[in-house]
């Protein structure tokens, strides 16, 4: 375990160091906006904090670098199964700016390995409601173990305990805060905007010296 690499002396120094000296820690969630929205990717304020020069990388075990690749050395817990994806970053309580809920909640480590999608569900085609009510947080499907046919009856078995579950939030920011707090890898999918072309029936009868215009209605 990488946790046991540090010595007692460095651990004591760690505890004595004030917060201002500690290098900032990234909650390593990947943020990709999945649409043609022009909103730039949200950059957390802690990302711009500087690492003090005198603390080399090996000396600052609190500096958890932002990872984009799977971390194969994470300690597993009893809920880890053969279906669990390899996590990129596991919260260890030293994250700055957020409450490390994953450390105290007792939730399985697997949840920090699973990607989560935050989106606004589209308007149902069966109703004319124009209001979009709640943001939803949904777990991505497992690569393996998502679903297989049960030998007994041919029913669908799954190794995924969050299969078919979702969370709802009133705003996008609340959902993002929750995902960061719990250490989930998340991405935000912006809702599609409804197009509307202004049309006037009178435009069908406009005079044109050349060929008649075709007014696209869609």
């Amino acid at each position: 375990m990488s946790a046991l690499r540090i010595t007692t002396a460095s651990a004591a120094r760690m505890l004595r160091t004030s917060n201002a000296m500690m290098p900032s820690v990234m909650g390593a969630a990947q943020r990709r906006a999945l649409s043609d929205s022009a909103e730039p990717a949200r950059v957390p304020s802690v990302e711009s904090a500087r690492v003090p020069e005198k603390l080399a990388k090996e000396d600052s075990p609190l500096a958890t670098p932002k990872r984009n690749s799977p971390d194969y050395n994470v300690p597993i817990d009893k809920a880890t199964s053969t279906w669990t994806p390899v996590p990129k970053h596991i919260q260890n309580g030293s994250e700055e700016g957020i409450l490390s809920a994953a450390v105290v909640s007792g939730a399985p480590m697997e949840l920090q390995a699973r990607t989560v999608r935050i989106f606004l569900p589209s308007k149902p085609a069966t109703q004319s409601s124009n209001s979009r009510v709640l943001w939803r947080m949904d777990w991505d499907v497992l690569e393996k173990g998502h679903r297989w046919e049960n030998e007994l009856m041919g029913w669908q078995s799954s190794g995924d305990f969050v299969q078919g579950t979702h969370l709802t939030f009133r705003t996008k920011e609340e959902a993002i805060q929750f995902a960061e707090k719990q250490g989930y890898e998340y991405f935000v999918q912006e809702p599609n905007q409804r197009h509307f072309t202004p049309k006037a029936y009178a435009n069908n009868f406009l005079y044109s010296p050349k060929k008649l215009k075709i007014v696209r209605t869609k």
Binding site: M14, V74, P75, S81, P85, G93, S94, K144
Partner: protein, 124 residues
């Protein structure tokens, strides 16, 4: 009553500062270590006491890098609650054994050790 429900119960409290928290963590750690022989006999664990103590140490080490006092307080509360549950025999052998890797299918190798290993397992 043979078992008093409030036996081993500790009232929740907030640590005044880091040295207070450190003292409480060590006290909890000692509690767990001193009761390991009793746990081994209660739950009939087929493991030497040293292995159980190493596992307890590993659980404490997992939270070594916490740098917020409230988080430490919550972890202490949970640690004391777990101790109470264990010593009051509210758990079963299976709950204790689930902390040890050899009891799980594939043991400690439930995650692949590298990309190639995962690829050959069929994880995409």
């Amino acid at each position: 009553m043979p078992i008093t429900p409030t036996k081993y119960a500790i009232t929740t409290r907030q640590s005044a500062n880091w040295s207070d928290a450190k003292r409480r963590v060590f006290a909890l750690y000692r509690r767990w270590l001193r009761s390991t022989p009793e746990m081994q006999s209660m739950y009939s664990l087929p493991l030497p006491i040293s292995v159980i103590r190493t596992r307890i140490r590993q659980e404490f080490e997992r939270n070594r890098f916490v740098n917020k006092l409230p988080v430490v307080d919550v972890l202490l509360t949970k640690g004391h609650a777990d101790y109470q549950e264990t010593m009051n025999f509210w758990r079963q052998t299976t709950h204790m054994m689930s902390y040890f890797n050899e009891e799980s299918f594939r043991g400690a190798k439930r995650l692949p050790s590298s990309f190639i290993d995962g690829f050959l397992q069929g994880r995409n």
